[in-house]
């Protein structure tokens, strides 16, 4: 089916958009303008994300402006002005000082969307420590692995997660983890498991951010790889330039906006756009603690008078399931701009927005490594439903072909599929994979960052997502590495081999499915299937664990014994199995550590 482009009329927009003429904005774009929009630390002491997000507003006219409104699961509301957010994050920074935590040390946060999490994030950045968020639906396995890989020194979490995720047990294996700060216990448990409220009460509300070089490390986000361990993508403080600028153009933030980013700060969207960008703009940020609930979400849009809403395809498709006319049942008159990220937004969903919300939904594309939105649909630019849009001003994106000789060739003819590549140099680009320089280096070929996504570009310059170039599974908007899942299953006594793939799903994109072959003494059964489902959930957590298990003898393997996930997937989807020798070669290249990017891709 052909989808008609969605035209925009400037006259019909309630608020004049920040980006009126795309081509003109790209042509005249200048990073110096972005620098001027931010303040910098006083006395030329550098650039710090938390200062731009909070302190500069707290010491100016927006001091008493509502910065963050937190909506609790049970209906509680907690409000923070910029002044109070500054004070609270100062206290947290002082807590870190008291504990002897230094610049560059890694502070991990593991919590649902509670105010303490936001305060800890900002306080960590103020003390120029490196923040590493963990998704609260991770099980003990992914948590311990990331804490170990990132040499975490402090973990901020809740009592429930501390118990359920067995943090006390894993501490014996984590020698660098000195302190666990619990957000909801009144008193210290022992000399290293401490009450955060007690520490905060004793800490001073005054804090001076130390000099912060723009290239100082700030954020560490783990993302899944195809093989081996998760990769820790490292971002620096000057990423804030890009957070600010991209929210200006791609989210069209204006100072009086009420902005709701539904992403969890366990993922990069939830930090770049769920904390940093909106606060840098001085807007009011809505944070909802509860998990997705369609009726609740419409209520929040209405009651909080949300003007700009950044959400995900998974949620939009859930809202589409509700057979109702949201504009008739809810007052959404304040809502002005909707954007979506996490996986490609299908054209049906874009048009559902037009028909039911009376607003188109603006898809955009980026990834953990890019730190911010790279390609987007804009308020004043025509939308081509299904397309991720066009690169932000200041961003050069191209389709490239990876050549056998290890070089790339830029594809000049439109509509040809290839690797989506970006010209490095923007401020929020990752500066490394933690402890893995080689893997970082492999992401760059001939002066291009190779994203790992396949795409094409049409005649008008719009980009269209095609697929992943590797085996990484995209489920409910986040990445799951098949290796991590396979490794957990292999620890079960009955499992001989495991191959994990993503199976397409209309709501969450892909569902994690494991093919399992059993050791000779074991027979497939419903009991064993349930046991393996539970085994995965207990170790990996619900966000990563396989939801489907299929028993299969003799999983397809390469000559060297590597399980061929692509063949499993082709069979699952009923696709042609393709040239088996290519499949084998492809799997072997990945195994031998040949460039991640230069892997053969099946047509």
């Amino acid at each position: 089916m052909e989808w008609q482009p969605i035209h925009k009329s400037l006259a019909a927009l309630q608020v004049s958009p920040n980006l009126v003429d795309y081509v003109q904005s790209c042509r005249t774009f200048d990073w110096a303008q972005v620098h001027r929009a931010l303040t910098g630390l006083p006395d030329g002491q550098g650039l710090n994300i938390a200062y731009e997000a909070v302190d500069r507003h707290a010491s100016g006219p927006r001091r008493n402006h509502l910065a963050l409104r937190w909506l609790g699961k049970e209906g509680e509301v907690r409000d923070f002005t910029y002044a109070s957010l500054a004070e609270q994050s100062n206290r947290f920074a002082n807590v870190l000082c008291t504990l002897g935590v230094n610049k560059g040390d890694r502070i991990f946060v593991l919590a649902s969307r509670i105010p303490e999490l936001y305060i800890a994030v900002l306080g960590t950045l103020k003390q120029v420590c490196v923040l590493c968020p963990l998704f609260s639906a991770f099980g003990p396995g992914p948590i311990e692995q990331r804490l170990a890989l990132g040499d975490g020194r402090v973990l901020v979490t809740t009592e429930r997660l501390f118990q359920q995720r067995k943090i006390a047990e894993m501490r014996a294996r984590l020698p660098t983890l000195e302190y666990v700060l619990l957000t909801d216990v009144p008193a210290h448990l022992d000399s290293s498991v401490l009450s955060l409220p007690q520490l905060m009460a004793a800490a001073s509300p005054q804090f001076t951010i130390p000099p912060t070089a723009p290239e100082e490390n700030a954020l560490l986000h783990f993302t899944s790889g195809t093989t081996g361990k998760p990769k820790g993508a490292l971002h620096v403080h000057q990423a804030v330039l890009f957070h600010y600028m991209s929210a200006h153009y791609a989210l069209d933030l204006h100072p009086d906006d009420v902005f709701w980013c539904t992403a969890d700060p366990g993922w990069v969207t939830g930090t770049s756009y769920g904390i940093s960008a909106p606060l840098c703009h001085g807007v009011t940020l809505i944070v909802d603690e509860a998990e997705f609930d369609a009726a609740r979400w419409y209520q929040i849009l209405e009651e909080q008078q949300v003007t700009v809403w950044y959400t995900a395809p998974t949620a939009i498709r859930r809202l589409m399931r509700m057979d109702l006319e949201p504009r008739q049942q809810y007052d959404l008159s304040h809502l002005r701009f909707i954007a979506s990220v996490g996986e490609p937004l299908n054209p049906e969903a874009v048009n559902w927005g037009v028909n039911r919300l009376h607003l188109p939904i603006h898809d955009n594309w980026w990834q953990t490594e890019t730190g911010g939105i790279m390609i987007a649909n804009y308020a004043a630019m025509e939308i081509r439903p299904g397309s991720m849009g066009r690169p932000l001003p200041g961003i050069e994106a191209r389709i490239v072909e990876l050549l056998e000789n290890g070089h790339v060739r830029v594809v000049d003819s439109p509509t040809v599929e290839g690797h989506l590549a970006l010209r490095p140099g923007w401020p929020s680009m990752f500066r490394g994979y933690w402890h893995d320089e080689e893997r970082y280096a492999r992401c760059f070929v001939d002066g291009w960052y190779i994203s790992g996504d396949l795409a094409r570009q049409d005649e008008e310059g719009y980009f269209w997502f095609v697929g992943r170039a590797d085996d990484i599974i995209k489920t409910a908007g986040h990445m799951v590495g098949p290796f991590e899942v396979e490794s957990a299953l292999l620890t079960h006594p009955a499992v001989a081999e495991a191959g994990v793939i993503g199976v397409p799903d209309p709501v969450i994109g892909e569902v994690v499915k494991a093919f399992v072959s059993l050791k000779p003494a074991f027979q497939p059964s419903e009991t064993l299937r349930l046991e393996l489902i539970g085994w995965g959930r207990a170790r990996l957590g619900s966000a990563v664990a396989p939801k489907l298990i299929e028993f299969q003898d003799n999983l397809p393997k390469t000559r060297s014994g590597k399980i061929m996930r692509r063949l499993l997937k082709a069979r699952e989807l009923g696709l042609p199995e393709g040239d088996l020798s290519t499949l084998e070669r492809s799997a072997e290249e990945a195994e031998s550590g040949a460039t991640d990017a230069a892997r053969s891709v099946l047509p």
Binding site: K73, A137, E291, F292, D293, A294, A295, R296, T314, R318, L319, R321, M322, D323, L324, A476, D505, V507, I508, V511, L530, E531, I533, G534, W535, R537, A538, G541, S542, A543, K547
Partner: protein, 90 residues
Amino acid sequence: MNAVKNFGPKELRQIVLSQLHGLAPEADLSTLRPHDDLRETLEIDSFDFLNFLIALDQEVGVEIPEKDYGKVGTLAGLMDYLLVRLPEAT
């Protein structure tokens, strides 16, 4: 159309627990209290919860529209919701 069966609260509870067990086999359902948040306590994500309610519909013949998901977040809430809507046995 689903087969209409005559469920009492006890049978219904058994069906609900059995479906929950399928989603979170590692959980000890005997410790689940009537007003616990099912998704949080059992760590069921919204995708699993959706499939759980669809499977329940197939078994007991009560369709729970997305807008009512907020009412069925606990065992007690879910049981109340289902009991008044069960199809009449003929």
